[in-house]
């Protein structure tokens, strides 16, 4: 009986401690000994969310308590709109807290904590490894409707991309995949490295969501919208479901999740790159 009561209160204490950083190691050890059956039922324990401004850096408050990262580091953000968006994410949680849907918070926490101790060049290499198997470069080997659709939708994107970055990329029609020259890789590596560490995290997140470097870069360069990028990434799936039928709890769910992830990535990159967002007092300079 006592075990049941303890197992009820414990997850709330643990979540509360984790979020506000009051990490009592003795309590933690006791928690590990007792089976925890209520992992997903983390309830909202705060009424209001807000942001604090200290010297141009921003922190998130849940009631009066300051938010901390999973590792216990202070959750400090340089950009005001990003802080507002993170506070809005926490505010959007109703009774239960769904940490898996708070993409902006997760991106910020990962950038602050850096749990795998990655450097910027590690991340850029990881992103570039997706270029060898880029979605847009794999086209159908038969002359069918799908191939026509791919030519119609992907070719303009490829052309724009090649012109924008001054590279040569060609799609492959067989399973061995496209051949990508070293110059192309160098150009793109340089471009990605020109962003700061936080923005590169955003790129990594976006590329992993879309499985395509080309589409992510087109989206962050504002050539296509988030919804369009997701549609292009799942072009074959859309084609097949148009023919065989669409299942809401699979196709629509995946589409919404990918859109949420890519939108979060795009927001994160833009809000960490443009100087207008990092210091809110700067004025817009007309081009």
């Amino acid at each position: 009986m006592i075990l049941n009561i303890f197992a009820d209160i414990l997850p709330k204490c643990l979540a509360f401690n984790r979020a506000t950083g009051n990490f009592n190691k003795k309590l933690c050890y006791q928690i590990l000994l007792i089976p925890n059956r209520h992992y997903a039922a983390l309830k909202r324990f705060y009424r209001r969310t807000g942001i604090l401004n200290s010297d141009g850096k921003f922190e998130i408050t849940l009631d009066q308590r300051k938010l901390k990262t999973p590792k216990g580091n202070p959750f400090i953000i340089n950009s005001e709109p990003l802080a507002l968006a993170v506070a809005a994410e926490w505010d959007a949680q109703k009774e239960k807290i769904w940490q898996s849907s708070m993409h902006l918070t997760a991106l910020c926490s990962t950038a602050i904590d850096n749990p795998n101790n990655l450097t910027k060049s590690d991340l850029v290499q990881h992103i570039m490894s997706y270029l060898d198997t880029d979605t847009v470069l794999f086209q159908s080997s038969e002359a069918d409707e799908l191939y026509e659709l791919q030519i119609q939708e992907w070719e303009p994107i490829l052309k724009w991309f090649c012109k924008r970055y001054d590279v040569k990329l060609e799609a492959a029609r067989d399973i061995s995949g496209p051949t990508i020259s070293h110059e192309t890789k160098n150009v793109l590596t340089k471009h990605l490295s020109s962003f700061n560490f936080w923005a590169v995290h955003g790129f990594s997140f976006g590329v992993e969501a879309l499985k395509s470097v080309i589409l992510t870069l087109c989206c962050t360069d504002r050539h296509i919208s988030v919804e369009k990028a997701v549609l292009l990434s799942c072009l074959e799936e859309e084609f097949q479901s148009g023919h065989w039928g669409r299942v809401e709890w699979a196709h629509d769910l995946n589409q919404q999740e990918m859109q949420a992830r890519l939108a979060a990535a795009v927001l994160f990159i833009q809000l960490n790159s443009s100087s207008t967002f990092v210091q809110s007092k700067q004025q817009c300079v007309a081009a």
Binding site: R48, I51, P81, D91, A92, E257, A263, L267, C284, A287
Partner: protein, 104 residues
């Protein structure tokens, strides 16, 4: 993007924020205040080709997409996701039993 599209984006953004915000008056929300301030600021450079204005429009659309996708994802998930096992109390109610701690 024309003026009408900008107004429509703003309206959709505000309506999405209304869903997620726990504030009673939307005027008091910091996020809404910031968005309105940014829209006013960049509205003035309407006639010129301003890179920052393009950035703002894209940012607004992306944030709108983010909020909408999150909400729709939750709706679909709640609609189709399994509810889990019945609790002890529900099972007892089903067969008309009372739990040991319930008042008689």
């Amino acid at each position: 993007m024309s003026h009408r599209e900008i107004v429509s984006t703003l309206r959709r953004l505000i309506s999405e924020i209304r869903y997620i915000s726990s504030e009673k008056k939307l005027h008091d929300s910091l996020l809404v205040k910031y968005i309105m301030m940014q829209f006013h600021k960049y509205k003035e450079t309407d006639q010129q080709l301003c890179k920052a204005q393009e950035e703002m429009k894209f940012l607004a659309l992306s944030y709108l997409c983010y909020l909408q996708s999150q909400r729709r994802f939750e709706e679909i998930h709640n609609q189709y996701h399994a509810k889990g096992e019945r609790s002890v109390k529900e099972t007892a109610d089903m067969v008309g039993f009372k739990l040991p701690k319930d008042p008689k």
